[in-house]
Amino acid sequence: MPKYRIAYAKIDLARFLSHLEVLRTLNRALRRSGLPLAYTEGFNPHPKVSFGPSLGVGVAGLNEYFDLELEQAVPLKQSLDRVGRQFPQGLVAKAMAALPPFASGLSRVIDCAWYRVALPPQAVPDGRLRLLKDLRESAEPWLRKRQKDGKVFDVKRGILDGRIVPRPQGAVLDLLVKVGEGEVPLRLVLEALWEKLGGAEPPLPAMVTRVGLYRLRGGQLVTPLGETRGLWEE
């Protein structure tokens, strides 16, 4: 049965939905859309849909993905519209592609993510530069303990690259971080960064946007829809 991949954004107030809430909401949107969904067998059939890496409450995502299986092939543009019309405010259907048979699932084609963090105004330019230098050049690990199970992560090893972009007010920090293998929980990354910047309060998830999800291949980033991007290229 034909498989498709849909790219969507989780923005505006919808950023405050949890991963599970997004899942349920989009599943219902698909059911409403009238697309010929393929269902799992068994007593409790549900549509064959699989989502990409989860995104926390408060964090926006500009390019998120799910795969779905249909009973028959459908025209792309028209179907994307049909699905998109059923998305509630803040969830936006962006692109749809047909997957070749035996295409790898989302977990196989994603190994890193670009996060954009709005830096607090207190983070003075000096501090920002020191942060980048530390991130790039120092060999010292940034150890953080996860609350729930006490597991210790070296935050730095989860970060592949970073940059700071000045903005009219403050600046944003771009981070390329590992997803899946070697992944450090985002919360720990943010806590470590804030500590370095001397931020008074722990950062709020709503300061964070996931710009994209990629696979790193030979220094190039490949999106789950197969497009190649340079680093920090939107």
């Binding site: 107030l13 919808a14 405050f16 939905l17 949890s18 599970l20 809430e21 349920r24 909401t25 599943n27 219902r28 949107a29 698909l30 059911r31 409403r32 269902y39 007593f43 409790n44 059939p45 549900h46 409450v57 408060g58 059923q86 509630p88 405010q89 803040g90 709020l204 998830p205 709503a206």
Partner: protein, 627 residues
């Protein structure tokens, strides 16, 4: 509220999805283009309120009118309350994020007594004076509806008006009256507005009544202080559900609700006649919807929501006369979209189990039955038409269909209860276990759970005159039963006794309790129906501060000759019928369901000019079948 501020707040609370207001099928109208704006306030959390059918019905009903709008607000969780208070921000509606004080009408639904402190909290957060007489013309009209208005007295000083009965019937009349007064007077004066509302049948304006008490603290009389106010206010009701409005595009919750499914209401009312049950009185008579109408509504709901389950709701859906016609066609309709069908509760018999077992969709891992009492004697007292044989057959059918977990509901502290009745519960448990052994022959283990509530006497029921057993006794009885039941190999859970006690106080309370309520709220009581939030010591302090004894309200056996504070509300059911039923209860006599055995003379049909409507039988088929 400004968006940046809103986002900042959302970042700091649990489950912010509760407050977004961007749900599918939610309605945000142009504020300046409607004449009357109402906000529907649900005094409990989003996840509870969004599962509430009444909200969905009234929301759809009002919003399809061009002249009106209805938005929603739920009781904010403690963290949201703290954020609002810290910043001095008022409680806001979900859809347009406006302060509640901007609306013309603030309408609370009163689902149960233990939400009352949340109502005061929401009024306070909205910056609206708690007491109706302290409100200015600029404040919204605060009205109440829902099941707990059948004894609104403990809330009387906080409300401008109560709408008694089925809101589909009267709410639009209320909004129209407000529209007319507004058009005539611009900013209408409160008394003029109330004057006009008071003309609408079913509207109770508590400020128009006075109460006198006897020296012992009973109510001597309730009397109109305003000329023209009716002696009693009679509930409104729909004669026929087929033509009534029903939401075919209900709001789909964003934060996970208690029930995530589409609902069709197969009928309203229940005349099985359980003597402790208030719903069995206040929704009389039974009015069934035609299968064709339900089939159509279910189809539309599935299309408009994308839910993967539709539930056939009512007080006892297995009693629906059109089940044989509805289920096959509904099943066909649902198979295309793999939509499941569910029943909210089962009757205690094997037929119910077979029906439930054949429904498509996810099957709950355990089935629940409610025999309510442990012996036939006590089941006859409460008029629960269930026998031991019914229960054992139902259990056997469940085991044969593959269920291994059963939950049994009982009530402790029922009138006339004796030790033998408690022992009877354990006895039933043993027999159900044995049925499990017979069916599974040791291949599977059966899990039984007994869930026990404490009896709460409710206004307008035949047991309204009965007192609640003292707390210490209740606790001793629960412990005794728990011990026996556990030895019979089942788990035993009992509901918080202090919560049931406070519930009993308010269920039969009078106006003086308003003071207690306010004290309790000031001391920090919120979400009292939630065991984890309920603080009994604060309630005890509050009663003391108000100089009232809670036991007087919860535990006292009332006399037939007493004036009952809630009798200013007329449910349509004859007081003499309630007395008759109470006497029959004490004599252990049963009363059959009027749907099948002929009119039991409760008085509602002749009194309100209605009659039971059953599928296939048209009106009053039962009278012809009477022996």
């Amino acid at each position: 509220m400004e968006k940046a501020l809103f986002e900042e707040i959302l970042s700091r609370v649990q489950k912010p999805a509760r407050y977004l207001g961007t749900e599918w099928n939610s309605v945000k109208k142009n504020w300046d283009r409607v004449a009357v704006k109402m906000v529907f306030a649900f005094p409990d959390l989003y996840e509870v309120g969004m599962s509430h059918l009444g909200l969905q019905i009234l929301y759809g009903l009002v919003n399809r009118e061009a002249d009106y709008l209805m938005e929603r607000v739920f009781a904010p969780a403690a963290d949201m309350e703290a954020e609002l208070r810290r910043r001095g921000l008022p409680l806001f509606s979900l859809e347009s994020r406006r302060p509640l004080a901007d609306f013309d009408v603030l309408g609370f639904t009163l689902p149960y007594e233990m939400t009352f402190t949340n109502i005061l909290n929401m009024l306070d957060l909205a910056g609206i004076p708690l007491r109706a007489r302290e409100r200015a013309d600029t404040h919204p009209l605060v009205i109440g509806g829902g099941p707990a208005v059948y004894n609104p007295e403990p809330l009387a000083p906080f409300f401008d008006a109560f709408v008694i009965g089925e809101g589909e019937e009267s709410l639009l009349e209320v909004l129209q009256a407000i529209k007319q007064v507004k058009e005539r007077e611009g900013r209408p004066e409160r008394p003029a507005l109330l004057e006009r509302l008071g003309e609408i049948p079913g509207v109770y304006i508590p400020g128009w009544y006075g109460v006198e008490y006897t020296e012992e603290g009973r109510v001597r009389r309730v009397f109109p202080v305003k000329p023209g106010a009716p002696e009693r206010v009679r509930r409104r009701l729909l004669k026929d559900l087929n033509g009534a409005y029903f939401p075919e595009a209900p709001i789909v919750p964003l934060a996970e609700a208690v029930h995530e499914r589409g609902m069709v209401e197969v009928f309203r009312g229940c005349t099985r006649g359980c003597r402790f049950c208030q719903a069995g009185i206040i929704y009389r008579p039974v009015r069934e919807r035609d299968p064709q109408v339900l089939q159509h509504q279910a189809g539309e709901i599935v299309k408009s929501t994308g839910y993967d389950e539709v539930s056939l709701v009512s007080l006892s859906s297995l009693d629906y006369a059109g089940l044989d016609e509805l289920l096959p066609s509904l099943r066909d309709r649902c198979s295309v979209t793999r939509t499941g069908i569910s029943l909210p509760s089962l009757r205690v018999d094997s037929f119910s189990v077979r029906v439930a077992g054949n429904l498509p969709g996810v099957h709950r891992t355990s089935l629940t039955f409610a025999p309510e009492a442990g012996t036939q004697r006590l089941r006859d007292v409460i008029n629960k038409g269930v026998t031991e044989a019914d229960l054992l057959e139902a259990a056997r059918a469940a085991f044969e269909a593959g269920w291994t977990a059963l939950k049994l509901y009982f009530m402790i502290g029922l009138p006339t209860e004796e030790q033998a009745d408690l022992e009877g519960i354990a006895d039933l448990v043993r027999k159900v276990r044995q049925a499990g052994r017979d069916v599974f022959k040791g291949k599977k283990k059966v899990r039984l759970t007994v869930s026990a509530a404490s009896f709460v006497p409710k206004a307008h029921t035949p047991f309204q005159w009965e007192g609640q057993v003292p707390r210490e006794t209740l606790e001793a009885r629960h412990r005794f039963t728990a011990n026996l039941v556990r030895r019979s190999g089942a788990d035993y859970h009992w509901h918080n006794i202090e919560i049931s006690f406070i519930e009993a106080v308010f269920a039969r309370g009078d106006r003086r309790l308003a003071g207690v309520l306010e004290e309790a709220w000031r001391r920090g009581c919120r979400f009292d129906g939630w065991t984890e939030h309920f603080k009994f010591s604060l309630w005890e302090e509050s009663f003391k501060a108000a100089g009232l004894d809670p036991r007087f309200y919860a535990g006292r056996r009332l006399g037939y000759d007493e004036v009952l504070p809630w009798e200013v509300i007329d449910s349509g059911v004859d007081r003499r019928f309630l007395i008759r039923e109470h006497r029959k209860a004490l004599a252990g006599e049963t009363t059959p369901d009027c749907r099948f055995a002929g009119c039991a003379g409760c008085g509602i049909c002749p009194g309100l000019g209605v009659s039971p409507r059953l599928v296939g039988g048209g009106e009053r088929k039962f009278t012809e079948e009477q022996p």
